[in-house]
Symmetry: C2
Subunit: 184 residues, 2 copies
DNA sequence: TTGCTAAACGGAGACACCCTCCGTATCGTT
DNA sequence: AACGATACGGAGGGTGTCTCCGTTTAGCAA
């Protein structure tokens, strides 16, 4: 790729991330991103085939930190329930960091053709890691799988994001999910 | 209202319901509804100020049966868990009957200004009725409220609807929620 | 440096969507 | 039958995503 193209691509992603994060997916138009990045819309569409692909690129950076977040949640002190809740908290925080992202990503679970497929895999692996670890301690119900967990917590995250609920409201819903998946 | 206006209104709602149900909210345009009902778009907008208001009207008929569904779920035989799951099943089935409705209605929870506010109240009351009944048997955790339950089950319904999950996948997620809200 | 070609750019405009506006047609009452 | 209030239709305004193509520019070779 030519040097000017690389520069433009990077600037577009950066500006788009700021806009999406601030205003949410729907409230940002491609014209707006183009204007902010000082390029034509044509340039946007050469780098990113659709608006969703651009969104995907804008979300890339923070998704890459999810693996380390899993390990951190697992390494913490406390009961299995505490560590699970800590992970749920982190997970929801990640998903709601950009307005509208939680629902879009959770919707894409199981859809290989989605622009978010790679992100979904990352999240599925993260949740699988949690399940494996807690299951080896005998703390998880046997019939819980990563997809289910992603969907349950993603659903909560989507609602929290959409209704702009505070951390406490989120936590009380996550507690329900946690109690439901832990061995009783 | 004039007789022709009444006829048109009814025909619009009926045709719109069929279209929305089949294709989902986003995939149906107002032009399409107008054409199906053989009226101009202007007529649509005289009867319904926005597309969402039309959607709300299209969903009205089946929402009205929700109260009786609650009583039926509560009257059934079985443990508190069985009856709760039976209600969850019904609730999700209601919300997913029209593609896209689950997320739109669940999103509107707590937003008094939404066109779906009346539906939200109906659902909140239904869930409150469930909570009250099961709590009087000592089967519910004390800190669960109707809004929380609506959001949890609505979140599951939205995911089920969006990913077109089968009844069994829905049930396994609902079981998690049920176990999380029942007294342990 | 200069010339050349492939790559990248910009933005006009096609198309789809929601919704408004207003001239025309119809209902129902007098 | 005449007339006023009510309802109708669809052209078109505004905004969005995305495409197309004439123009510009980067980077290499002579």
């Amino acid at each position: 790729m030519r040097a000017d193209a690389v520069r433009n691509r990077e600037r577009i992603v950066e500006l788009a991330r700021a806009l999406f994060r601030e205003k949410g997916y729907d409230a940002v138009s491609m014209d707006e991103v183009a204007k902010a990045a000082e390029v034509g819309v044509g340039t946007l569409y050469r780098h990113f085939p659709t608006k969703e692909a651009l969104y995907d690129a804008a979300l890339q950076a923070w998704v890459e930190t999810v693996t380390e977040a899993v390990e951190k949640a697992l390494a913490a002190e406390g009961s299995a329930r505490d560590r699970l809740l800590s992970w749920f908290d982190t997970y929801v925080e990640f998903l709601t960091r950009h307005k509208g992202a939680a629902w879009r990503i959770t919707s894409a679970l199981g859809d290989e053709g989605s622009p978010f497929a790679a992100k979904c895999r990352t999240y599925l692996n993260a949740n699988q890691r949690i399940i494996d670890t807690l299951a080896s301690e005998g703390a998880m119900r046997a019939d819980v799988d990563a997809m289910q967990l992603c969907r349950l917590v993603g659903g909560v995250a989507a609602v929290v994001d959409n209704s702009e609920l505070d951390a406490e409201a989120a936590r009380s819903m996550l507690a329900v999910v946690a109690d439901g998946v832990l061995a009783s």
